[in-house]
């Protein structure tokens, strides 16, 4: 049997966590509960984060938005800053799961699950997000790329939780997008996806571009050579097609029941072409 705790504050959480070793942190439970049912392995205790206000806050200044770990995807979808300035993240949560999943699932949970198919991850990569981590006695921040160390693996130590994600707000005039291919139009695990953040000059020449792919490798894949190839050029279909070839060759996806590696490679490259028609 599992004991289930609902601490009201971080301090209370630390106390409960140390008194119940082996327990699991639960945010929305949309990954955790599925995993428990599937494996049949029940942790002795669940530490639910839903009453800790500090983890539910969204704050921002001119430069950065701070998103609490327990902010649900639905709240991101409704947040105007996310919608206007972090469009790739907004795109990602708009195609994440379904309304019930978006109302329970959280950004912290998506990060900690560290699935290569996690939809918020590629946007967080291209925006250069930082993950704030705390434990009873310690506080630290790492970049998303450092946070995620492998499929289902993070750099969290036992006793640590993610408290928030900080995302630098892109300069005005920057565009960002997230494109996803799944097996159906909702409730679909990503088969291949791509996030992009780009800034063009007045002639349409790319000054800055950041790209990241989901479900294209063991973790989110970045390909500096593809970014390099596009920088300093306009996003013509031809240029994008050539860059797409670099991408198809550069990503490292696997075969599984959802799709073959060859398909994922092809789509990862093709998704770049969508940029030809974005302004």
């Amino acid at each position: 049997m599992m004991e289930i705790f609902f601490p009201d504050s971080l301090d209370e959480l630390w106390a409960i966590m140390s008194a119940n070793p082996g327990g699991a942190v639960m945010a929305g439970g949309t990954d955790l509960l599925v995993r428990i049912r599937k494996t049949g392995r029940k942790p002795p205790a669940l530490f639910c984060l839903e009453r800790i206000d500090e983890l539910k806050q969204i704050r921002e200044n001119e430069k950065v938005i701070f998103i609490g770990a327990y902010v649900t995807h639905q709240r991101l979808l409704e947040n105007l800053t996310v919608q206007k300035r972090l469009r790739a993240l907004w795109d990602a949560v708009s195609v994440l799961g379904s309304p019930p999943v978006r109302h329970s699932g959280t950004i912290g949970g998506n990060l900690c699950t560290a699935s290569p198919a996690g939809d918020t991850l590629p946007p967080l990569y291209v925006f250069g997000a930082e993950v704030d981590i705390r434990s009873k006695s310690n506080k630290r921040s790492v970049s998303v790329a450092e946070f995620i160390t492998g499929p289902g693996r993070t750099s969290l130590h036992s006793g640590e939780i993610v408290t928030r994600v900080s995302i630098p707000l892109p300069a005005p005039g920057t565009i960002s997008r997230y494109y996803k291919a799944g097996k159906r139009k909702a409730m679909a695990i990503t088969v291949a996806s791509m996030a992009v953040q780009a800034k063009k000059d007045e002639n349409g020449i790319i000054e800055l571009i950041k790209l990241a792919w989901g479900s294209a490798g063991a973790t989110v894949v970045t390909l500096p050579e593809a970014e390099e190839f596009l920088r300093g050029h306009t996003l013509s279909e031809e240029r994008l097609r050539q860059a797409g070839k670099l991408v198809s060759a550069g990503v490292t996806p696997i075969d599984d029941i959802r799709g073959s590696a060859a398909y994922r490679r092809m789509v990862a490259g093709n998704l770049l072409l969508r940029l030809a028609h974005e302004n």
Binding site: K183, R184, A186, V267, N270, A276
Partner: protein, 738 residues
């Protein structure tokens, strides 16, 4: 609406709608008799193996375990099956697929049950297993149709108990309450008259509950539960593992026409994998063969069919029952031939489609209403078809658009040998209410509501003056299965007779009552039924039905009527044994499906933009229920066309839950337009024909034909996933560049 007497042709409200949306309706899975024991089954670790020994001792000793049973505890034949009795309730010496059953455990809780099942140890001697329905099938360009799961909301469920006199009662989610009784009796050696089966509304069936699922386990368990009620309810994973599937099929077709585009010859071969047990494999194959040539005149036809046992999951009935597989093939081949021979695909179908009096490629002479030409003509004149090229040319960047059609038919009923019979009963209560005893299950399609509408029409009663008794072998009369597009067709005919007999009796009695009041002879012709009353029309005087009821005893208050459908008595020239499996039919529904879709050439993802179903399923009793069947059938059809892939490797299911088995969501299903071409069918009640299955046959070929326009090539195996579409598109682009 409730104040109005129900009338055939109106959108009568569904009697089950309110109780279902408010959660009041009790499905079999909702029954929790007090003091119940949970039952579960031990499944094998091999797809094919001899059982050396079964050690149940540790499970038996576990606290909270009431009993552990094996085949040794069964006194009957231990064989289930409809025609072919080949499936043990509990395995004796052999297991034949991963969903087989070895031992049955009764426990205090589901948790204990799981643990006890793990404590049973079985020693096996693995046997070579067969997974490929025909290795020899590696011929050129077959159309491969994989298995599919019904994916009903309510997984297989039921409860059972023994009455004080030892009689067995089973409440189960079943499409076949009366047949279940016979099957259980045979397998477990319990006299049929000592078994009562009750079938509440089903939370979906689609063929997956056409026969025994948990009922035999429940019956066995109830006999060893020390007098306690027992409950069994499959988890979703177990439903995938042990439930039946749609038959995977390999179809190979050759079709020929002359220069004018007149079809002359068809040569085809259908191989179906029925898995470890026959279930309804022969019947499904027979229906596939009957529909193999579609609704066309093809004078020379060779249709070969084979159903093969393997060690794969068991395949059985699933909405469409073999016809979707056949239509997936013939309708693509027709399209290809039209293209090669240079004809418009719709005109080509019009040239060759059957009309009444014609003979189909399977040798069936169509003596009944035949609406395929009308459906095709209506489709041809629709804007979606006329303007298709313009619409296709307006595709947004990186999208390609295609339009596709399919022409389909579907046989109604059991075929020539097994009597397609129903027995309806209707009662006037002492309070003047009407009770309709429906002996055939309502698995969600709304047939029970239709029965109220039919009786309400004949007796001029409102919905609130009528009640239903759902199938219960102790109260309702045998009426066959809820299947084969025959449920309302057959039971409706029986019910009309019962309701008319009761109406006549009511009016005759009422005429006596009026005669006593008026001291003058009142003729039944002067009387009319109105809600709750009989009215003397010349004077407007009324008497309440409860008063009429006082002039009757119990036997007179009820009227029953038996109806057996006429059959097609043609003998197929070859394949004589097909008749016993249901070949051929007499009445068919017809349809044309038109789809417009958009494929993303970067990802292969397909968006179905519009779907129009032109359906001749005869006259319509309730337009809303008719459309619901059309919408549901097409949604299910689009699911199996585009997404659902029942992947099995070495007998093991790879897509065994809803995480991996991809069903369509609301966002994947377009608005569906249902256009009825309601020809009058003389055999059907009020001129109707079955609409439950014709709706699922066309989605696959219509979509495949639209995609063939997009990809400029064909995808030879279903489902038509984004990955296959992208591969097909790129194959073609590469070809172009060369």
């Amino acid at each position: 609406m409730l104040r109005e007497p129900l009338t055939v042709g109106m959108n009568a409200p569904r009697a089950d709608a309110f109780t279902k949306v408010t959660g009041k309706e009790q499905y079999a899975a909702d029954y929790y008799p007090p003091n119940l024991l949970w039952c579960g089954v031990k499944r094998p670790s091999y797809a094919h193996a001899l059982i050396r020994s079964i050690d149940i001792s540790r499970a038996k000793e576990m606290p909270g375990v009431a009993a552990v049973l094996t085949h040794k505890d069964i006194s009957g034949s231990n064989r289930l099956g409809i025609l072919e009795k080949d499936q043990p309730v509990l395995a004796e010496d052999t297991v034949r697929h991963y969903g087989d059953s070895i031992a049955l455990v009764l426990a205090e809780s589901r948790y204990t049950l799981q643990q006890a099942l793990e404590l049973i140890s079985v020693e096996y001697e693995p046997l070579p297993a067969v997974f490929d329905p025909e290795a020899a099938m590696l011929e050129d360009a077959p159309v491969l149709h994989p298995g599919r799961k019904h994916a009903f909301l309510e997984t297989e469920a039921g409860v059972a108990w023994l009455e004080d006199d030892g009689a067995l009662v089973i409440v189960a989610s079943t499409q076949t309450p009366f047949r279940d009784r016979t099957e259980i009796s045979h397998a477990l050696g319990i006299p049929s008259c000592r078994i009562r089966v009750i079938a509440p509304y089903l939370g979906g069936g689609f063929g997956g509950k056409d026969g025994i699922t948990v009922q035999a386990f429940l019956a066995l368990a109830a006999q060893h539960s020390g007098g306690r009620p027992v409950k069994m309810w499959y988890s979703r994973e177990e439903s995938f593992l042990a439930g039946t599937k749609r038959h995977p099929a390999i179809l190979k077709y050759s079709l020929g026409c002359d220069q004018e585009g007149i079809l002359h010859a068809l040569d085809c071969r259908i191989v179906m994998d029925t898995g470890a047990y026959a279930s309804l494999g022969c019947e499904v194959l027979a229906l596939a063969m009957e529909h193999a040539g579609g609704p066309y005149r093809i004078p020379h036809a060779s249709i070969e069919g084979i159903a093969v046992y393997t060690n794969n999951p068991v395949a059985g009935a699933f909405r469409g029952f073999g016809a979707p597989q056949a239509h997936a093939a013939i309708e693509q081949v027709i399209d290809e031939l039209a293209r090669i021979a240079g004809f418009d695909p719709l005109e080509f179908r019009l040239k060759n489609a059957v009309s009444r009096g014609d003979t189909t490629p399977s040798g069936v002479t169509l003596t009944q209403s035949t609406g395929i030409l009308a459906c095709l003509e209506t489709a041809r004149d629709s804007a979606a078809w006329r303007e298709r090229e313009r619409w296709e040319s307006l595709a947004p960047p990186f999208k390609k658009r295609g339009t596709g059609i399919a022409a389909i038919n579907h046989g109604i009923g059991y075929g020539p040998v097994i009597p397609d019979n129903a027995n309806a009963k209707i009662e006037l209560t002492g309070e003047g209410r009407l009770i309709i005893y429906a002996g055939v299950s309502d698995m969600g399609q709304g047939n029970a509501a239709t029965y109220l509408q039919i009786a309400g029409d004949i007796l001029s009663q409102t919905l609130d003056n009528m009640e239903l008794v759902l199938p219960d072998t102790a109260q309702t009369l045998p009426s066959g299965s809820s299947s084969a597009s025959r449920t309302t067709f057959t039971f409706g005919n029986a019910l009309i007779g019962a309701a008319q007999a009761l109406r006549k009796r009511i009016l005759e009695r009422a005429s006596l009552l009026f005669t006593y009041q008026f001291f003058e002879h009142v003729r039944a012709e002067d009387l009319g039924l109105v809600p709750g009353h009989v009215r003397h029309i010349p004077t407007g005087r009324e008497i309440h039905l409860s008063f009429v009821s006082t002039t009757m005893d119990q036997s007179e208050r009820t009227a029953a009527n038996s109806y057996t459908c006429p059959v097609n008595r043609q003998k197929p020239p070859t394949g004589g044994s097909l008749r016993i499996h249901g070949y051929p039919h007499r009445v068919y529904s017809f349809g044309v499906n038109l789809v417009r879709l958009e494929a993303d050439i970067l990802t292969g993802e397909v968006t179905v933009c519009d779907f129009i179903a032109f359906t001749d399923a005869g006259r319509i009793i309730n337009p809303e229920l008719f459309d619901q069947q059309v919408h549901g059938g097409i949604a299910q059809g689009l699911g199996y066309t585009l997404f659902e892939d029942f992947l099995v490797s070495e007998g093991r299911i790879l897509t065994g839950d809803f995480g991996a088995y991809i069903l369509p969501t609301a966002l994947d299903i377009p608005d569906i337009q249902s256009i009825a071409i309601p020809l009058q069918e003389e055999d059907g009640p009020y001129g109707m024909k079955g609409v439950g299955e014709i709706t699922i046959n066309g989605a696959f070929p219509a979509v495949a034909n639209a995609l063939a326009r997009v990809c400029k090539t064909r995808i030879s195996s279903g489902p038509l996933t984004a990955e296959k579409v992208l591969a097909a598109i790129s194959r073609n682009e590469v070809g172009k560049n060369r």
